[in-house]
């Protein structure tokens, strides 16, 4: 305990490394924990990607990716998600400078683009199921619906989270706890966009190209 007292006596300027500067700020600790969660989430996605890559040729005489996928829809979905990631970044700038109007408008555009992405994806799934390309048709379609559906589920959860955060900003204001949660949300949203980059390349572009 003498050591602890001695450390407290050292002036802050004399400290040289992160380990000697005392415990890290809570913002860094919380965001680091969420960063670990995101990486484990991406590891889970990698298992789904692996199963898709293994099963992509197992169509069991059913429709193949080249017959099912519509590239125009995928391009619009990609654009929606990319621009929503950008507006989410602009929203986090508004949060850091505590501008309410910028935060709300950034959240609104992010939500609208995310909802547009989700609507297009659900319509795509519905049109595939309507022509008999259901998850139980072939191993390829099971893997496809699991992988893309899991990403869609993440987007849905992100949209719900965004609404909850806006309610918290409205009720509690920019208190540190809300700011930390908003930082975690923006990490989550950017990570979803990174997963989508891998997804549209592996599933839609590599599946369609000759």
């Amino acid at each position: 305990m003498n050591i602890a007292i001695a450390v407290d006596d050292i002036p802050q300027e004399a400290l040289t490394g992160a380990s000697e500067a005392g415990p890290a700020p809570k913002r860094a600790v919380v965001a680091y924990g969420f960063w670990i969660f995101l990486l484990s989430d991406i590891v889970m996605f990698s298992a789904l990607f692996a199963s898709y890559a293994v099963l992509v040729r197992s169509t069991a005489g059913g429709p193949t990716g080249a017959q099912l996928f519509n590239q125009v829809t995928v391009a619009i979905e990609t654009g929606c998600l990319l621009v929503s990631s950008y507006t989410c970044g602009l929203m986090s700038l508004a949060i850091n400078s505590r501008r309410r109007l910028g935060t709300y408008s950034g959240a609104l555009i992010t939500f609208a683009l995310g909802a547009a992405f989700l609507t297009l994806e659900i319509r795509e799934f519905a049109s595939m199921i309507a022509i008999g390309a259901t998850p139980e048709r072939s191993a390829f379609l099971s893997a496809f619906f699991t992988l893309v559906g899991c990403h869609g589920l993440h987007v849905t959860l992100g949209l719900i989270w965004l609404v909850v955060m806006m309610v918290q900003v409205a009720v509690m204001g920019f208190v540190p706890a809300v700011q930390r949660r908003l930082l975690c949300f923006s990490l989550f949203w950017h990570a979803l966009d990174i997963v989508w980059v891998a997804l549209f390349t592996v599933v839609y572009l590599m599946g369609v190209s000759p």
Binding site: L15, L39, I42, S46, A50, Q71, G89
Partner: protein
């Protein structure tokens, strides 16, 4: 001064004292958006064109996707090589390693097993399968 010595939270921008000249944060996001859009457009073009040798398109698409993920990490998630984000980068590197092992390992093993199933040879693996 003490702030800069701590680990930085993932997703936070580097503090201003660390750099002699730092571009505005708005500019960073906007550059990231345009580079990402350019890479996406190139991916879609490469997948649909007949100008390129089809065998090379797969590799090209993979390179473009990895480049775009890097752009997202640097411009949107602000991952840097600075000393204050060492922990974030190390965790990321471990995640990438696991992803690579899972995906490449699965594809390799399953392709190998497919080959064994299609072309029966006198290997011990196939002998066992015939029983």
């Amino acid at each position: 001064m003490t702030e800069a010595r701590h680990e930085r939270a993932p997703g936070d921008r580097p503090t201003r004292e660390m750099q002699a000249w730092a571009p505005s944060e708005f500019l960073v996001y906007t550059i990231g958006l345009f580079v990402a859009l350019l890479l996406t457009a190139t991916s879609f073009w490469a997948a649909n064109t007949t100008l390129l040798w089809p065998g090379g398109v797969f590799l090209g698409l993979a390179v473009l996707a990895i480049a775009q993920m890097g752009i997202h990490l640097v411009f949107f998630l602000h991952v840097t090589t600075g000393p204050e984000s060492t922990n974030n980068v190390l965790a990321l590197a471990f995640g990438v390693l696991i992803v690579f092992v899972v995906v490449a390992g699965s594809m390799w093993i399953m392709a190998d097993m497919n080959q064994n199933m299609l072309m029966p040879s006198a290997g011990p693996m196939n002998m066992r399968m015939q029983h």
